[in-house]
């Protein structure tokens, strides 16, 4: 176990270096000259030259790469080129609101999807099953924009159940008041594909021999489905769920934009628009690190659920 952890943590070093190299190459050779971008339209060669000096762009590639690595190691990516706000501060202040919306969506969506999937898998090929599957397909086919517009107009504006948009100061206020409608809509649009997917995972298990054994023991259907079948189906469900987690770091642009939530999603989109390299670099590196850490967590989780998994 500890050998496995050490090996995996050690393997992260070359992987991260690969990511750093890739980002460095992309920004230096594909991204255009940042000095021109920064100087804007009214620029003369002298100004550009001084900006190049400030950014260290006149140094050799080796020195520039060294600076980048240092930024990654110290987690200090400097300041945003467009707002001059430190990158670390941008991420620290914007990630919170995003997570206040996205984590409830993820948790509610997963729990609900699993429950519905177990139910439809149990009554498989019945009318209920088919009706829910059709409803899922329809729900999947409608754009999130439609959900947002209809939700804001009907539920928030006409019925007045939720604020149309906005964001407050305290976590409690945000979670219960401002995040409620975005979470509801996020769940509504995200749940359908998960139900369909989890249903197939569960159906794969329902026909296994051990399910027949469980019934032959005289267990009731609840125990068969929720204890024996679901635990086995959890393995692919975990894979699916964990693969999504790194995306939490880049927020959800549409939801944040429409509900005026000061989240990271807007920052990411704005940074790309303005070629705000420090912000983009920082986010890219953090997503890469999160992906590696979550992959490791996923493997540990497999081990917890499935005794057959060998961590080597």
């Amino acid at each position: 176990m500890s050998a496995f952890l050490l090996r995996r943590l050690w393997q992260m070093v070359p992987t991260l270096f690969g990511v750093i190299l890739l980002v460095f190459v992309l920004f230096n050779f594909v991204g255009g000259d940042p000095a021109y971008l920064l100087a804007g339209k009214i620029s003369n060669p002298a100004q550009i030259e001084s900006i190049r000096n400030q950014l260290g762009l006149n140094e050799s590639y080796a020195v520039q790469l060294g600076i980048f690595i240092k930024q990654v190691v110290t987690a200090d990516f400097g300041s945003s080129w467009s707002t001059n706000e430190p990158v670390s501060q941008i991420i620290a202040t914007r990630i919170g609101p995003s997570l206040v919306v996205l984590i409830p969506i993820l948790v509610i969506e997963t729990v609900l999807a699993i429950l519905i999937a177990v139910l439809v898998a149990y009554v498989r090929s019945s009318l209920t099953d088919r009706a829910i599957m059709v409803a899922c397909t329809v729900a999947m086919s409608v754009s999130l924009l439609v959900y947002i517009i209809v939700g804001q107009y009907v539920l928030a504006y006409q019925f007045g159940w939720f604020p149309v948009q906005g964001w407050g100061e305290s976590l409690r206020e945000n979670l219960l008041k401002y995040a409620a409608l975005p979470v509801l809509l996020g769940v509504a649009v995200g749940i359908a594909p998960n139900v369909r997917l989890y249903r197939t995972f569960i159906l794969d298990e329902v026909n296994q021999d051990y399910v027949r054994t469980a019934r032959a023991k005289g267990l009731d259907e609840n125990t068969v489905m929720l204890k024996h079948v679901l635990r086995n189906a959890l393995i692919p469900i975990i894979t699916n769920l964990m693969a999504y987690l790194p995306a939490l770091l880049i927020g959800h642009f549409l939801i944040e934009r429409f509900f005026s939530i000061p989240g990271i999603g807007r920052e990411v989109i704005m940074a790309v628009e303005r070629s705000d390299f420090p912000v983009i670099k920082a986010i890219t590196i953090y997503v890469a690190i999160a992906t590696m850490v979550i992959n490791l967590l996923t493997d540990l989780l497999y081990k917890a659920v499935d005794p057959r998994v060998k961590l080597q």
């Binding site: 023991k217 005289g218 024996h228």
Partner: protein, 570 residues
Amino acid sequence: MSELLSVSHLRVSFRLDKATTIEAVKGVSFTVSAGETLAIVGESGSGKSVTALAIMGLLPKENSNVAAGSSVRWQGRELLGLPNRELRTLRGSDIAMIFQDPMSSLNPLFTVGDQIAEVLVTHHEMTWKAARKRAVALLDEVGIPEPAQRAKLYPFQLSGGQQQRGMIAMAMAGEPKLLIADEPTTALDVTIQKQIIELVNTLREKRGMAVMWISHDLAVVGEIADRVIVMRHGEIRETGTVADIFTRPQDAYTQALLQCHPPLDHRPRRLAVIDDFLEGKPPAIALQREARPQVGAGETAIAPILEVRNLSKHFEFREGLFGKRLLKAVDNVSFTLPKGRTVGLVGESGSGKSTVGLTIMRLHQATAGEVLFEGKNLLTMSAREQMPYKRRIQIIFQNPYASLNPRFVVGDILLEPMRIHGIGANEREREALARTLLDKVGLPALTLRKYPHEFSGGQRQRIAIARALSLQPDVLICDESVSALDVSVQAQVLNLLQDLRDEFGMSYLFISHDLAVVKYIADQVLVMHAGEIVESAPSDDIYRNPQHAYTRNLLRAIPRGYAHKTLVAS
């Protein structure tokens, strides 16, 4: 004896799609009395397992239908139509069931002890703590060493035999009056099979329970049963005491089943096939008895076509931070295959016999050793050099369901290798060749346009044989090629292989766990154990006078049916 179970006019059908319904069980009636062992024998599709599942109320509810007029009575009480809630109180307590493949029948994510304890908690309202303690006692009863430690293990940490013992312990937990055993030893090695048979017999005597033993193997049934039911195509062909069935079989099908399996005491020229009996022309016993001459004994004159020298295949596994563990799957194996002869390679699962075949084919990279084909080492050849030799050595695998590409029609399966190796001048010639091959293996030319799933297991294995033959190989490696087939089909395929060898002068490396089959087909037999060849002798000698302790053990474990049992008893 009091009657426990009475099944009458049981009819079960399965709806495959809107248009097709198949009748799996067509009006079956029988009874099981307390304390007796009733065996139901039949080939795949005979409806024997479906009958068992119908008794347990475990048929898949979506597409199965038990016809009106069917009846399953347990101690006088009708079970069909009983609500699931009431059936549940019988299942696992009064009637328990064990299945074919213990590995897949146990839930992989729970410990064996907990899976046994679950029965006790469900039926006897025990606390988990008490139930776990009782589970250890049950594991002890079914002969698992160190039961307290083993109870805490997961199924994958136990051997196949121990898993089946665990399943039996689980069945015993509810103190059943009837144990339904559905092919409980089919997935196990012969030596383990013998132990499981003995265990079930002991438990039956000790607990006075009845056993319904379902099997395709008459030899096994002969050792265990009091009464036997022979089923085919959903109907009962014959019912009788075990003595009647084995010594005075009335039905042609029963007679055929008894004759189809290769015998151990002599070597018939051909094996009987079921159709001979059903068409009322049983092959003359003389032809049956006529010994096929054994070739290969002591002959050195024939040049070897294939010579394997010191072949090893080791697998490495990582362990710990820097550690490695070595598995010697094949270790220092040497043998020669003379031209036109058959060498049999026997061993139990994990003995490395299949790895030998795969390594010769270079489907595994050998760790060490040489494979000389007409004197040239196959293992050191470049891909280009090896190409002509690839054609000359072909392999047929065990599972005809998995080894044919499901998206290819049979025509493509046969033509593709010919195209790759440039056999036949053009497409027309190749097709003609494919048709001849199909004819040779007894399939109609129409087969070319069909997909593998449209054929039965036996037909599929013939397609696999035709595919191998399409390259006109000199050496054919048969890796458990008849193991997945029913006895009657197995006899047909063995006869076919025999004919093809005589006609084309091919040489076979015949890999199997079934000693009777190997004895029938092989001239020389190699016994493999833990990656090494422990004994090598002409076929007849090895069965008459086995030298190695492992070979003797293996031979002793083969079920020999009723005659043997009575012989030993007297």
